[in-house]
């Protein structure tokens, strides 16, 4: 089901609406937010200089640091009194990123999340269990409002206490699961340990995944666990851009549709800031067209993707972004080789003898970067001989070497021994960072 008429606009209709909204939004930000005004003045720009969508690239970028510099309310365009919701993302370094929503912002946010739910196959008949942690994280409440708006029955079970989650899932007849992909796999594993067959004893048929990327092999794991007809889609967003609802995969699984009437996407070269043509890979930059409380103009997401404008098989005409190759922040540089943890995951998940969980440790030993990866052995037939186990470790190492040009030491561990995650998985430990100077 296509939720909104804007999702099938012609390119001309969409661009007309985008331009009208962009002009209004730039003027609003310029007038109401000192930080935007001073940046534009520095660049010699005034709102009336924006006369076409092509003028967008003249505007300065907004970055995460701007939130920190204007903590907590400095980027707000309205008094906090006019806000009806405040969220914050946990800052691992420095202060958290604080975001606020007016009543109108909440309506727009809810609308875009409802589209994401519809993209993933949800309907008003679904019983939705939200296994994202509630609280300051935007994921849980975002999906909560969107699914409620659609008319689904929403159970806010939050994350954690997996056995109880499964009890609810079974007793409520849950049909739709909202979780991080790693938690969804964990729930399935625990259900099996409890003697349940997720495909027969549970009714979950739809998974709306977010909070972290889902690689293709991970999606295959979902089918194995939850059934071949399971609808496993992922969606994308971040609190600076409302939260979830920016984009989501449709059932054709050809990338994530962006709600372009609310967000203009661009892809730039992260080094030079230059805008790249459709189809080229670079950093995603988003301009919000309807955010009143906290305008966001050319926000650098740090996420790497490509954009495609061809109409989709699903009937929608909105721009699609490719599933993420990774956050530019997450990129590891190992002895000069650039690698995203998601690429390592792709290689690992294609090897059936090992499980879907892994742990990467990067250290510097004698001034050389070394990487070791722990993987869980799941194929008992290799216990025939030490040689077979050793061959498996060699094969994992060889595949990483040939696909990524990366040399890593492989440690096989027993199944169930690596850490499971209820929220975003943290699978990389970079011990090199802790050695650096703190300045």
């Amino acid at each position: 089901m296509i939720w909104a008429k804007e999702e099938t606009f012609t390119r001309a209709e969409m661009e007309e609406l985008q331009l009208a909204r962009l002009k209004e939004q730039v003027t609003w930000a310029y007038e109401k937010v000192e930080a935007y005004r001073s940046k534009m003045e520095e660049a010699g720009l005034r709102p009336e200089h924006i006369q076409s969508l092509a003028d967008l690239k003249k505007l300065p970028f907004t970055v995460k640091k701007d939130f920190r510099d204007h903590y907590p309310y400095g980027l707000f365009a309205v008094p906090v009194d006019d806000m009806v919701r405040i969220h914050a993302s946990s800052g691992t370094t420095g202060k958290p990123t604080v975001v606020g929503y007016t009543k109108e912002d909440m309506e727009n946010w809810t609308e875009t999340v409802t589209r994401v739910a519809a993209l993933g196959g949800a309907t008003s008949h679904d019983i939705a269990q939200i296994c994202f942690g509630y609280g300051m994280f935007t994921g849980a409440l975002g999906l909560h409002y969107g699914l409620e708006n659609m008319g689904a029955a929403v159970a806010p079970t939050s994350s954690g206490n997996t056995q109880k989650q499964i009890m609810y899932m079974k007793d409520f007849g849950t049909t739709l699961l909202v979780a991080t992909p790693s938690y969804a796999l964990h729930i399935g594993e625990v259900a099996r340990q409890m003697g349940l067959d997720p495909q027969k004893d549970l009714k979950v048929k739809i998974g709306l995944f977010g909070g972290e990327g889902m690689t293709e092999p991970m999606r295959q794991e979902m089918y194995k666990l939850w059934g071949e007809d399971f609808k496993a889609t992922q969606n994308y967003g971040m609190s600076e851009l409302n939260g979830p609802g920016l984009s989501g995969e449709c059932l054709a699984l050809c990338g994530m549709h962006i709600s372009e009437d609310h967000f203009i996407p661009e892809v730039i070269n992260p080094e030079t800031g230059e805008v790249l043509p459709p189809g080229e890979k670079g950093e995603l930059v988003i301009t919000c067209l309807t955010k009143k409380g906290l305008p966001m103009i050319r926000y650098r997401t740090r996420d790497i993707t490509r954009l495609f404008y061809e109409p989709c098989k699903c009937g929608r005409t909105t721009c699609r972004m490719e599933n993420l190759s990774g956050r530019s922040d997450d990129m590891l540089i190992i002895r000069g080789v650039n690698v995203f943890p998601s690429q390592i995951e792709e290689v690992l998940l294609r090897i059936p003898e090992i499980g879907p969980h892994y742990e990467i440790i990067v250290e510097r030993i004698n001034h050389l970067d070394t990487m070791s990866i722990k993987v869980e052995l799941v194929d008992e037939s290799l216990l025939e001989s030490y040689g077979k186990l050793n061959d498996l470790a060699k094969r994992v190492r060889g595949n990483l070497k040939s696909v990524l040009g990366l040399d890593a030491e492989i440690k096989l561990v027993a199944p169930g021994t690596l850490k499971r995650f209820e929220g975003k998985a943290k699978r990389v430990t970079d011990l090199r960072k802790e050695l650096g100077l703190n300045c």
């Binding site: 008992e380 216990l383 001989s385 096989l412 561990v413 027993a414 199944p415 021994t417």
Partner: protein
């Protein structure tokens, strides 16, 4: 032939103890055990009194376990006995993967556990040479 349990163990402090604890808690008795030094991980091989149950409880405790066939060979307790067996297999061009011996035999004769790629052939050739290959361990 008898069944042996092969359990994946990591090369770290306490990894064998974790296995033996599960067996103790389930009142399973070890008849023979072997583990060899290996750098990262190893395979612990066990012969126990209740094989099926041991596999089940170890699997429930997140161990990865495989059942494999091995030959249990009864020897006479006198010098040269093992040598005789080894030459029977060597002369038949049968390659041994590993060998270990039994823990406790009371008044019975010593028992060796061996694994080879061509198990049936080995069993046959040993029997032809009047070496007793037993199958009775599991019923003890």
């Amino acid at each position: 032939m008898v069944k042996q349990l092969s359990v994946f163990v990591e090369n770290e402090v306490g990894s064998l103890a974790k296995v033996t604890r599960v067996l103790r808690e389930n009142n399973i008795s070890i008849r023979a055990i072997a583990s060899f030094d290996s750098p990262e991980f190893g395979i612990l091989r066990l012969i126990v009194d209740k094989t099926g149950e041991a596999k089940r409880v170890l699997t429930e405790n997140n161990f990865i376990v495989k059942l494999t066939d091995v030959l249990a060979i009864e020897l006479v307790d006198k010098p040269g006995e093992l040598d005789r067996v080894m030459w029977i297999l060597a002369d038949a061009k049968l390659e041994i993967n590993y060998i270990y011996s039994f823990v406790l035999r009371g008044h019975k004769e010593p028992l060796m556990i061996i694994n080879l790629d061509r198990m049936e052939e080995a069993e046959k050739v040993l029997l032809q040479n009047q070496i007793n290959v037993t199958t009775k361990l599991m019923e003890e």
